[in-house]
């Protein structure tokens, strides 16, 4: 990456025996929407607060546009931050909250007033300037926290699970708004979440963390379709995992077997030596269902769950075990019922060979 706005180098944070961060290297590009994704306890907050300056690293450094800021206190870093519980100051009105960073910076009152109004308009909360935070709903508080973090035009906006306390519908709406806001302002966003849908829908780039280590990073499409490890494939969406043996190889084209079942696997970029065993991930929505005999495998329907737009079918196969299939309801054509025999198969490029963790 040329000229990253933020560089984290070899950062380690130890809490006793726990490594909350374990040699993390990360570059953040100017203006990007970067998401730190991982299960609870994976070190997302620790990484974010290390960037913000609240957490002192045990080792490693943070630099901003090439300048080392590892030892600068948070108030000198000029990053906006939206905290997990919003942390709106309960003794101040909405206007005072949003104006707080400007007042600290000793801007003239008239300028503060204008800028606060502007920011409240930005998050569609113009009518609420004189309320107290306790008089606002969760979604409204979230917007105010955002306006407050943006009011002083920070170079980087840090958000720690800002939507996790909201209900599903509101969360979906705010995802669009956040993304729109990012595109409109051009500020660098570093966004922490444990919610894969949020990460996939908003991010330019996702960094997946586990046990304080970066598992994989990349654009949402790459992470979803080419996960490197079982953890990533499992965490980002659903996957079927198959243990197979490589039977033959022709270029990037593998023929794999599991018991009597044989099927093609695309091995672009993987070594996959003949005779070795491998673990492959297969997305449920990439599996085709047909009448028995029309695909290369046959299974029995064990359970069906109807999800409105999609229908999930759990098949059992004599060798592969349980296989989850997800097909759009509108075109499934067949009406799967438990006990029914179905043919199923997939394209070679639907399979991803996983690295051992």
């Amino acid at each position: 990456m040329s000229n990253p706005i933020l560089s984290i180098r070899n950062s380690v944070k130890r809490y006793g025996p726990v490594h909350a961060l374990d040699h993390v290297d990360l570059d953040v590009a100017e203006g990007e929407f970067l998401t730190l994704l991982g299960p609870s306890g994976s070190g997302k907050t620790t990484l974010l607060t290390a960037i913000a300056g609240f957490t002192d690293l045990s080792e490693g450094s943070v630099s901003l546009r090439g300048r080392d800021i590892t030892n600068e206190p948070p108030e000198h870093r000029d990053f906006g931050m939206v905290f997990q519980g919003y942390a709106l100051f309960p003794t101040m009105t909405v206007r005072q909250n949003v104006g707080f960073p400007l007042k600290i910076r000793k801007r003239p009152a008239s300028e503060i007033r204008a800028r606060v109004d502007e920011c409240l308009e930005l998050v569609q909360m113009g009518a609420y300037a004189d309320r107290m935070p306790s008089q606002l709903s969760g979604g409204q508080q979230q917007r105010i926290a955002l306006a407050r973090a943006l009011s002083f035009k920070p170079q980087v906006l840090l958000l720690d699970e800002p939507l996790s306390a909201l209900d599903k519908k509101l969360r979906a709406d705010l995802q669009w708004e956040l993304k729109a806001l990012h595109d409109q302002l051009g500020v660098t966003f570093i966004y922490v979440t444990h919610d894969q849908d949020e990460a996939l829908s908003m991010s330019d780039r996702i960094v997946i963390l586990k046990d304080g280590k970066i598992q994989q990073s990349g654009i949402p499409d790459t992470l979803y379709n080419k996960p490197r490890t079982r953890f990533v494939a499992d965490f980002l969406g659903k996957s079927n995992f198959l243990s197979v043996k490589v039977k033959s190889r022709e270029g990037d084209h593998l023929e794999c077997v599991a018991g009597e079942a044989a099927f093609p696997v695309d091995a672009t970029g993987h070594s996959g030596t003949v005779g070795n065993s491998a673990e492959i991930a297969l997305r449920p929505e990439r599996i085709r269902l047909t009448e028995p005999g029309k695909e290369f495998l046959t299974g029995t329907v064990k359970q069906v769950s109807y999800l409105g737009e999609r229908c999930q079918v759990l098949l059992t196969h004599s060798v592969l075990g349980q296989i989850l299939v997800s097909c759009p309801t509108w075109k499934s054509g067949i009406n799967p019922n438990p006990g029914l025999q179905l043919g199923f198969g997939w394209d070679a490029d639907a399979c991803v060979i996983l690295e051992a963790e």
């Binding site: 913000a52 300056g53 609240f54 206190p73 948070p74 108030e75 000029d78 990053f79 906006g80 931050m81 905290f83 997990q84 519980g85 942390a87 100051f89 309960p90 003794t91 707080f100 960073p101 600290i104 910076r105 407050r148 973090a149 002083f152 840090l158």
Partner: protein
């Protein structure tokens, strides 16, 4: 609307405590009111005497002054203690908590006597000061207002610390962090974000200490050595030494009314219910 059965159960639970309050507290207090208007003669005589007496006036002023200084002292010291306990993770925290609560398990009498041992003419403090050569003749540290104040602040400190502690424990660290993240220095974050949130605790601590100090007897009596006559001791004098039951009762009524006034004024600024129940 609770069922009748529930109401009966409620009253059965409340009644014993209520009966004790009425028989041993409310009725005697009413008795005092009565005596104040009937002894030695029926009428307002005691109250007239009270308002005309310079000694009474002095004692009331002294009482309010001591209560006020005690309150300020307790707030200053107590705020620091409560802040340290609730904001710093340390192995000493349980010890500090115990030191705050310990006085509750030791009688006020014993604590006041301990101060006499410390502050007397040849007490520990004066001896030490003389030994290290800071003074040549002993300082007068008790049998004056200073001694009363020192001991009062010590006795009242837990009453200031506990409500402030309850309040501060409820304040999440994320507020100060947020303030600093937005550009505030540590001091500004404290002053403009943290401190305002602790005011409810400060007010309830202040109220508790002030009201308790107004009617306090043991400590001023012991440390004052008869020279610092706060109103409760003055009342005891009237009744025990001069057998002036009427005037003593009138003074009691005056103290009760004064305390009620303080609470009434405070109620304009603080939510008394939450302040006195320590639920901030």
């Amino acid at each position: 609307m609770p069922r009748l059965n529930d109401q009966i159960r409620y009253w059965m639970l409340v009644l014993p405590a209520l009966a004790i309050m009425v028989i041993f507290y409310i009725l005697p207090v009413l008795g005092i009111w009565e005596i104040s208007f009937t002894e030695p003669a029926t009428g307002f005589g005691n109250y007239v005497k009270m308002t005309e007496s310079n000694a009474v006036k002095t004692s009331f002023i002294l009482t309010f002054r001591v209560a006020a200084i005690t309150t300020v002292g307790c707030l200053l010291l107590g705020y620091i203690v409560a802040y340290a306990i609730s904001n710093f993770v340390s192995r000493l925290t349980p010890l500090m908590m115990a030191l705050v609560l310990l006085p509750f398990w030791v009688s006020v009498l014993i604590r006041s006597f301990s101060w006499i041992i410390l502050l007397g003419r040849s007490g520990l403090v004066n001896d030490t000061l003389r030994d290290i050569g800071l003074v040549t003749s002993p300082l007068r540290l008790m049998h004056n207002e200073l001694g009363v104040l020192i001991a009062m602040i010590h006795v009242m400190l837990p009453f200031a610390v506990l409500p402030m502690l309850a309040n501060m424990r409820g304040i999440s660290r994320s507020y100060t962090d947020a303030a600093r993240g937005l550009g505030a220095s540590e001091w500004t974050a404290f002053r403009s974000v943290y401190f305002p949130q602790t005011l409810p605790g400060v007010f309830s601590g202040a109220l508790l200490v002030f009201v308790l100090s107004l009617g306090f007897f043991v400590t001023p009596a012991l440390l004052g050595g008869g020279r610092v006559l706060m109103i409760s001791e003055y009342i005891t004098y009237q009744i025990q030494e001069f057998l002036a039951w009427g005037l003593g009762s009138a003074l009691s009524v005056a103290l009760l009314v004064a305390t009620a006034l303080v609470l009434l004024i405070a109620a304009r600024f603080v939510n008394l219910k939450s302040a006195l129940l320590e639920r901030n």
